[in-house]
C-alpha cells in the first residue's frame, strides 16, 4: 500500500508513524506544529512534507550554496528562479539549467529519464524562452553489473523519445561507467533556451485578486511523493517505489510549449511556474510567497484524470506537463482561447489574496490553511557536521608502470568503456532538428546558432568523478575549469554555469564534507575564471545500503561565439598542418585513465588545476581562433595528450606523425598524463611563427608536436597505428556491449 492510501486510512489523527512515513523527523514535526500553531490536517502534513523535503527546501545544502559566486555583468537572472539567464547581446538572452532525475531513472529508466528531460525543458520555457538545445550527463554502473545494460537502454531511449518528439535537438553530453554508480545511476539533463531579454517571465505572483490558472495535462495519481523519494536513500525495497515515478507525454509538452509561448506574446501573464517536483503545492506556494500574497485554491476545478481524487492526492501529484499561471484580470478569455486551440486543459482554480495564507478547498471543506511564511521560510536549515578527507599522496610518474607499447596502450584506452565513441547514444537523439546545430555531438562543446543570426551558443557538460572521489575540492575545481576550457576550445567566450550537485547522504559527515569541499572548489574556479553559477540543483541521498556515489558536481556551461565563421572544431583538416601543444606538461598520472585502464586502477591525487595558467591558455586559444590562425583545436582531458591527438585524427580522418620529444619525463607520463589547462591545436605552417609569438606574449608554454598527414598515428620507435584499426577499436565497444550478453 502506498503512503497516500495508508495516510487516508489514518483519518483519525496524525500518528508518529505517519509523520515518519512523510520523511519528517520528530523535531521537524515539532517545528511544523509550532509554525502552524496546531496539529496539521492530513493534507497539510503532506504539503509540509514535500515543501520541507531535501529536494524542495535545500535544507542541508543551503548554507554552502551561498558561497558560490552568482554575479557578473552578463548575468540577467541568477539562482532563485526556474532557470538562470545570461545576456548574449542584441537584446537576446539565454536561459538554462541542469537538473537531476536520478532516483526515478534507476527505478524506471525510460520514464524517469524522459520526465527529467520534460521537467527541465518546462523550467526553461516557463521563463518565456524557446528551448534550443538539450544536453545530458549520465553516470552508469560498471558494464559488467547485471542492471547496467538495461539502464543504459532505457535512459537513452527515454531521453531521445522525449526530446525528439519536442523537436528540440539533444546536442551532446557525457557518459561514465563506474562501479560506484551500480545502485545509484545519475541522470542529469540540461536545457538551453533563447529569449528576448525584455520578455522574461518570472514566478512572483504580485497583486491581489488575480486569477490562478491551471493549464496542461490532467492531474492523476502519479508521482505522489516523488520529491520525498528523492530525499531518501535506496534500500532493497526501493523497487516498490515505482508508482512514485511519473509518466511523460512529450506530445502534450510540445503543445504546452507552443501554447505558453503564444500566450506570452500577449500582455496577459503576471507570473508562471511549472508544476515540477511537489506539483501544485510547490508551484502555488512559491509563486504566492515570492509575490508576497496569499493564494486560495478550489480543488473541485482541477482537471483530473481519475474520479475520487482527494485533496491530498491533488496537492501532491507530480503528473507531468502542467503549468500554473497568475493572469492579469480580464485575460482569462484570451488565455482560454489559446489553450483550447492547442487542445489543452484550462481552468481558473483560484485567486491571489491578501491573507498571506495558502487555503485549499475541496468539496466545500477547507483541507489546508497554512501561513505561507511557515512553508517557505520556517523550513529547517541544517548546518550538518562535516568531516573532510585527508588529501591523497601525489604519485610521481616514475612509480607508474610503463606499457609495452605507447600506441598499444592508446588503442586499449580508445576502445575502453571510458573513452570509446558515444555514437550509439547520440545517434538516438535528434541532434539536428531546428536546423541550427553548427557543431554536432563529438566535439569539445556543442554549438547551436542563434536562429537568424551569425552568433553561436556553445554548451558543454563536465565533471570527472574519479578526480572528485579522490579530492572533492580539486575535482570540483577541475570540473568548472574543464567546462570553461571546452567552451574556449570552440572559440566561445564562456558566460556562466549551471550545476547539478549529486552526492550521497548528507547526514553522514564525510558526505557533507565532500559537498562542502566541492562547493569551495567550484567557487574558487568560478571566481578565477569569471564564470558564475546562475542556476542549479542539488541531489542528495544518492546511496544504497550505506554505499554512496562518488561526489559528482556536474557542471553545465554556456558560452557565446560572436560569429560562427570563427568557430573551431576538433577535426584535423589539412595534410601538412603542424600540430602544437598549448599549456604546461608535468606528466601527472595520478587518477589518470592510463592508471585506471592500463596499470591496474587509478590512485593518488588528481591533477591540480592552476587557474591562472588555465585562464591564460584559454584566452590565448580563443584569440588565436578568432584571428583565424587555427585549423583545429581540442582540449586535453581524460586520457591525456595522445588520446586528444587520436580523437582529432579520427574526427578528421587524417593521420599524424609525432616528433620525438627530448623530455626528462617517462614517455607514458608525457603521452597519457592528465595535466590541466592544455589544448592541442593544428595550424598551417605559415601561421606557426605568429602562434609562437602570441604564446610567448601570453606567457603560455607551447611545443611543436608533429605534422598532420597519412592514415596512421606515427610515433618514433614504434610501428604506426593505422587509423582504421584505431577507429574500429574506438567505435566497437558500446554497440557490441549493448547488443550482446
Amino acid at each position: 500500500m502506498n503512503i497516500a492510501a495508508r495516510a487516508a486510512r489514518t483519518a483519525e489523527g496524525i500518528t508518529p508513524e505517519l509523520v515518519a512515513e512523510h520523511g519528517l523527523t520528530p523535531d521537524e514535526y515539532k517545528l511544523l506544529v509550532a509554525a502552524l500553531g496546531r496539529e496539521p490536517r492530513l493534507t497539510e502534513l503532506g504539503i509540509f512534507s514535500v515543501m520541507w523535503s531535501e529536494h524542495c527546501s535545500y535544507k542541508s545544502s543551503k548554507v554552502w550554496l551561498k558561497k558560490l559566486p552568482t554575479d557578473g555583468p552578463q548575468v540577467v537572472q541568477g539562482p532563485g528562479e526556474n532557470a538562470g539567464v545570461v545576456d548574449i547581446g542584441d537584446g537576446q538572452a539565454v536561459v538554462f539549467k541542469m537538473e537531476s532525475h536520478n532516483h526515478p531513472s534507476y527505478i524506471e529508466p525510460y520514464q524517469g529519464a524522459a520526465t527529467g528531460v520534460g521537467g527541465i525543458m518546462r523550467d526553461v520555457f516557463t521563463m518565456g524562452a524557446r528551448p534550443i538545445a538539450n544536453m545530458n550527463a549520465l553516470r552508469f554502473g560498471a558494464p559488467e553489473h547485471p542492471k547496467t545494460k538495461h539502464l543504459v537502454a532505457g535512459v537513452v531511449s527515454g531521453i531521445g523519445d522525449y526530446g525528439n518528439c519536442m523537436g528540440v535537438p539533444t546536442v551532446g553530453g557525457e557518459t561514465n561507467f563506474d562501479a560506484r554508480y551500480n545502485d545509484n545511476i545519475l541522470v542529469n539533463a540540461m536545457t538551453v533556451g533563447l529569449v528576448d531579454a525584455t520578455r522574461i517571465f518570472k514566478s512572483a505572483a504580485k497583486g491581489v485578486g488575480h486569477p490562478v490558472v491551471y493549464v496542461g495535462s490532467k492531474t492523476g495519481r502519479d508521482g505522489i511523493h516523488g520529491a520525498t523519494m528523492a530525499s531518501a536513500e535506496f534500500d532493497e525495497a526501493s523497487e516498490e517505489k515505482r508508482p512514485t515515478v511519473q509518466v511523460g507525454d512529450p506530445f502534450t509538452e510540445k503543445l504546452l510549449l507552443e501554447a505558453c509561448l503564444e500566450l506570452m506574446a500577449e500582455d496577459a501573464i503576471v507570473a508562471i511556474q511549472d508544476m515540477g517536483a511537489a506539483g501544485l503545492t510547490s508551484s502555488s506556494v512559491e509563486m504566492a510567497d515570492k509575490g508576497g500574497v496569499g493564494i486560495e485554491l478550489e480543488l473541485d476545478r482541477i482537471p483530473t484524470r481519475e474520479d475520487g481524487m482527494t485533496a491530498y492526492e491533488m496537492m501532491l501529484s507530480e503528473s507531468q506537463e502542467r503549468m500554473l499561471m497568475v493572469l492579469k484580470p480580464g485575460s482569462e478569455k484570451i488565455a482560454e482561447r489559446i489553450f483550447k486551440k492547442w487542445e489543452l486543459d484550462f481552468s481558473v482554480i483560484g485567486y491571489t489574496t491578501d491573507t498571506g495564507h495558502l487555503v485549499v478547498r475541496h468539496r466545500g471543506i477547507v483541507e489546508a490553511d497554512i501561513p505561507l511564511a511557515a512553508l517557505a521560510h520556517a523550513a529547517p536549515v541544517y548546518e550538518r557536521p562535516i568531516t573532510k578527507k585527508d588529501p591523497q599522496p601525489v604519485i610521481p610518474p616514475e612509480e607508474v608502470a610503463a606499457p609495452n607499447s605507447i600506441l598499444g596502450a592508446l588503442e586499449r584506452l580508445m576502445g575502453s568503456p571510458h573513452l570509446c565513441s558515444r555514437r550509439w547514444i547520440w545517434e538516438q537523439y535528434d541532434h539536428m532538428v531546428m536546423a541550427d546545430t553548427v557543431q554536432r555531438p563529438g566535439g569539445d562543446a556543442a554549438v547551436v546558432r542563434v536562429h537568424g543570426t551569425k552568433k553561436g551558443v556553445a554548451i558543454s557538460c563536465d565533471v570527472t568523478p574519479r578526480y572528485c572521489a579522490a579530492d572533492a575540492f580539486e575535482g570540483a575545481k577541475q570540473a568548472v575549469a574543464e567546462c570553461w576550457r571546452n567552451l574556449c576550445a570552440v572559440g566561445a567566450d564562456p558566460l556562466a554555469i549551471t550545476d547539478c550537485m549529486n552526492f550521497g547522504n548528507p547526514e553522514r559527515p564525510e558526505i557533507m564534507g565532500e559537498f562542502a569541499s566541492a562547493v569551495e572548489g567550484m567557487a574558487e574556479a568560478c571566481r578565477a575564471l569569471s564564470f558564475p553559477v546562475v542556476s542549479g540543483n542539488v541531489s542528495l541521498y544518492n546511496e544504497t545500503n550505506g554505499i554512496a556515489i562518488p561526489p559528482t558536481p556536474a557542471i553545465g556551461g554556456v558560452g557565446l561565439i560572436p560569429d560562427i565563421a570563427a568557430m573551431a572544431t576538433v577535426a584535423l583538416k589539412r595534410e601538412g598542418d603542424v600540430l602544437m601543444l598549448i599549456g604546461e606538461e608535468a606528466g601527472h598520472l595520478g587518477q589518470s585513465l592510463y592508471m585506471e585502464v592500463i596499470s591496474g586502477g587509478a590512485k593518488g591525487a588528481p591533477p591540480p588545476v592552476d587557474l591562472d595558467a588555465e585562464r591564460r591558455a584559454g584566452d590565448l586559444v580563443r584569440s588565436l581562433i578568432r584571428s583565424g590562425c587555427l585549423s583545429a583545436v581540442h582540449d586535453v582531458s581524460d586520457g591525456g595528450l595522445l588520446v586528444a591527438i587520436a580523437e582529432m585524427a579520427l574526427a578528421g580522418s587524417v593521420g599524424v606523425t609525432l616528433d620525438a620529444v627530448p623530455s626528462p619525463l617517462p614517455a607514458h607520463a608525457l603521452w597519457f598524463g592528465e595535466d590541466q589547462g592544455r589544448y592541442v591545436v593544428a595550424a598551417s605552417p605559415d601561421k606557426a611563427d605568429a602562434i609562437h609569438k602570441a604564446a610567448a606574449v601570453a606567457k603560455v608554454p607551447l611545443r611543436l608536436l608533429g605534422t598532420v598527414g597519412g592514415d596512421a598515428i606515427g610515433l618514433d620507435g614504434e610501428p604506426p597505428l593505422a587509423l582504421q584499426a584505431l577507429r574500429q577499436a574506438h567505435e566497437a565497444w558500446l554497440p557490441s556491449f549493448m547488443a550482446h550478453g
Partner: protein
Amino acid sequence: MKAAVIVFPGSNCDRDAAVALQAATGQPPAMVWHADSLIPDSDLIVLPGGFSYGDYLRSGAMAAHSPVMREVAARARAGTPVLGICNGFQVLTEAGLLPGVLMRNATLKFICKDVLLRVERNDTLFASHYARGEVVRFPIAHKDGCYYADEATLDRLEGDGRIAFRYCDANGNVTDEANPNGSRRNIAGIYNEAGNVLGLMPHPERLADPALCGTDGARMFLSLMETLH
C-alpha cells in the same frame, strides 16, 4: 513560387522547412494550421517532419484524418506538387496519397545521422538540380522509417520509375550496409503515379545551409523553385 507548410499539433520541422523554402524562393511560405480546411493558393504544399499527434496511434495516422488533409488530397489530385518529409511522408502513406507504409526501423531505435542517397531520376520537378545516379548526403532522424510495401507494389513502383531516392554507399551501390532502417529495396523516397507527390524519410531542409555542413538538400528546393516559378 508560393509555398504552404501544413502545421499539425506535434509538427516540429515546420520552421526548418519554412527557412529552407524562404532561402530558395525569397519569400516566406504560408503556415497553415491543421484545423483550417482552406489552404491559400499555393504552387507547393509541404507536409513537414515531426511527431504529429505524438505519433501515438501509428506514425502519421491521426494527422491523415485531420480536416486539412482532405484539401491536401484534393489539391494533389488536381496536380499541385506535394512534398512530405519524414512524418510528412508517413502522413502521405496513411492518407493513401502514396502506397506502402513506414514501419519501425529494423534496429528498433531512433536514428539521427547523415546518410547517402542515390538520386534515381532527375526528370522530375523535385530533382532537376541533381544528376541521375548522383550520390547526395541528407540527414535522417526517425524511428519509423522502414519503408514496406508488398512485392507487387514494389515491382510496380520500380517499373513506373517512381522510386525517388535509395540509400546507398559512397559509390552509389545499393547495399544492406548502406540501408539505415531496413527499408525494402533501400527505398528512401517515392513519387505518386502522376509524379507531383514526393514522400521521403530524409530531411533535405536540414542540409540546405553551408553553416550546417552541407547543401545537398537545398537543391531540392531550388529544383522546385525553378520548375514552379
